[in-house]
């Protein structure tokens, strides 16, 4: 796929253009050439795995084995993942002897030895976990995480938005843009860059970037041009 200058993360396009979350996790895996990707929406009231919303590239065999063996009750990635706030490398987990068979079994069923999990929390108090699994280890794995972690976090939130649309039929996250965000987006739509906008609104350029980033996130867009198009389409701005 052609890399465009204006799109910092072209991989987003293939994820975002997916019709379903199921397709999106496979698209993510293909884009970043990782072993597996999993989106897991946590449900606080119900702890039964089979009633949870999970979309994964793991083999059906591994998923059913995971369910049959009740690994959900001991899986530290999931257990800690819905409690933590910061993204974490699986090497940060404190592993007890009781969970080692789970990891050995996972590797016997097509999972790689390394993982990176991104906790997701939204304005409606929902929590989810997006997990990347690979066969890369050591320095290669650390380099991979460091070069992609910002993009992965953004992709995780995009996929969460898609899941919310899939479950609730619409984007119930559709938050109101603040007046500042609307001002910045309107000026951006008129061709001003963030330095121009900062001068006009008497803000720092960094703060303007913050408002634009926030507006982009709220509109579920991958870049500013797309956010502008979305805002115009939704009649939020009228540049």
């Amino acid at each position: 796929m052609a890399k465009r200058q204006s799109t910092p993360n072209p991989a987003f396009d293939s994820v975002r253009s997916c019709q379903t979350v199921e397709q999106a996790v496979f698209a993510f895996r293909a884009e970043y050439k990782v072993a597996h990707a999993t989106y897991h929406l946590a449900q606080t009231a119900i702890s039964r795995f089979d009633s949870m919303y999970v979309r994964t590239t793991y083999s059906a065999e591994w998923v059913s084995r995971y369910l049959q063996r009740n690994y959900v009750n001991i899986d530290p990635v999931l257990k800690e993942g819905v409690q933590r706030q910061f993204p974490f490398d699986w090497s940060e987990l404190e592993l007890t002897a009781a969970v080692l068979p789970l990891f050995e079994d996972a590797m016997a069923h097509g999972l790689g030895p390394s993982g990176y999990s991104i906790p997701i929390v939204d304005k409606n108090f929902r929590r989810a976990l997006f997990t990347i699994n690979t066969f890369e280890t050591g320095e290669a794995w650390i380099d991979l995480v460091n070069s992609h972690k910002t993009a992965w976090v953004n992709a995780a939130f995009l996929i969460h938005d898609m899941a919310m649309k899939e479950i609730h039929g619409s984007n119930d996250q559709a938050l109101h843009l603040s007046p500042r965000e609307i001002e910045c987006l309107t000026l951006a739509a008129r061709g001003k860059d963030h330095k121009d906008i900062a001068l006009i609104l008497r803000l720092s350029a960094y703060t303007v970037q913050g408002y634009l980033k926030s507006a982009r996130h709220k509109l579920g867009s991958v870049n500013i041009p797309q956010a502008i198009a979305e805002a115009i389409r939704s009649r939020i701005i009228n540049p």
């Binding site: 257990k79 800690e80 409690q83 933590r84 706030q85 910061f86 993204p87 490398d89 699986w90 090497s91 940060e92 987990l93 404190e94 592993l95 007890t96 002897a97 080692l100 990891f103 050995e104 590797m107 790689g112 030895p113 390394s114 993982g115 997701i120 929390v121 939204d122 304005k123 108090f125 280890t137 050591g138 320095e139 794995w141 650390i142 972690k149 910002t150 976090v153 953004n154 995780a156 939130f157 938050l175 603040s178 007046p179 500042r180 965000e181 803000l203 720092s204 960094y206 703060t207 913050g210 408002y211 980033k213 926030s214 982009r216 996130h217 709220k218």
Partner: protein, 230 residues
């Protein structure tokens, strides 16, 4: 030492957290006169029930607290979004991955004076801010939105971390309360280290270059700590 305490570690560090709630009561209720809920000498609000990450400054034995900061992602419910939205709509509504909220930043002057008389309060704020910056960068956070009393802006600037004020509101306490943004980057961290005369990172977020393959042959039968938070 500086460490982060996330929800899965609350129980392990419950004494430090309890000291933090008591410190916050002294700093924000007694001194700053903020009208915020408190009970039994502790300041705890609804955002403490949402599993925030705390950055804590304490002695190596983890028995004495020197300072703390509460961190929440702006993609979820946050204090500033909820409270400042009413006061000046539009200015405090930033919400995106990579933008986090830092609130209840405070220093225990009594404990510091007793254990480290050479560290004056201005430097103490600087050290805590540097650790917060390092912690944020380690976790992919490039912007922190925060609230503070106006006089602290000068202390932040002296530490090399200028705050960009978005707005301020009266009626919360002794002074107006400001809402502002910290811009975080490796360059900012380097400036702070230079200004504070600090050579090494204060906050260490260590990753071992191994997945769980290395762990499948544990050296100790019970628990093996795979990664250390220095």
């Amino acid at each position: 030492m500086f460490l982060t305490i996330q929800a899965h570690q609350y129980d392990t560090h419950r004494h430090l957290l309890d000291d933090m709630y008591r410190l916050r009561k002294r700093v924000f209720v007694d001194e700053a006169k903020w009208t915020i809920p408190h009970e039994n000498g502790r300041e705890i609000d609804r955002y403490d029930t949402l599993g925030p990450a705390y950055l804590v400054w304490c002695n190596p034995e983890r028995t004495r607290l020197y300072g703390s900061l509460r961190l929440l992602p702006t993609t979820g419910p946050t204090l500033l979004y909820d409270t400042f939205r009413a006061t000046f709509p539009g200015d405090a509504c930033l919400a995106a991955p990579g933008i986090w909220e830092g609130t209840r930043l405070c220093i225990d002057k009594a404990n510091l004076t007793a254990d480290h008389p050479e560290i004056l309060p201005v430097r103490a704020f600087g050290l805590l801010l540097l650790a917060a910056t390092e912690c944020a960068l380690a976790h992919g956070i490039d912007t922190i939105i925060t609230n503070y009393e106006p006089h602290l802006a000068r202390i932040y600037a002296r530490a090399g971390l200028p705050v960009d004020e978005l707005g301020r509101a009266d009626g919360y306490g002794r002074f107006p309360v400001c809402c502002g943004v910290f811009e975080l980057s490796e360059a900012v961290a380097a400036t702070m280290r230079r200004k504070l005369g600090i050579g090494l990172p204060l906050y260490r977020h260590a990753h071992l270059p191994s997945g769980y393959r290395a762990v499948s042959a544990p050296k100790t039968p019970e628990t093996r700590k795979v990664a250390a938070h220095a």
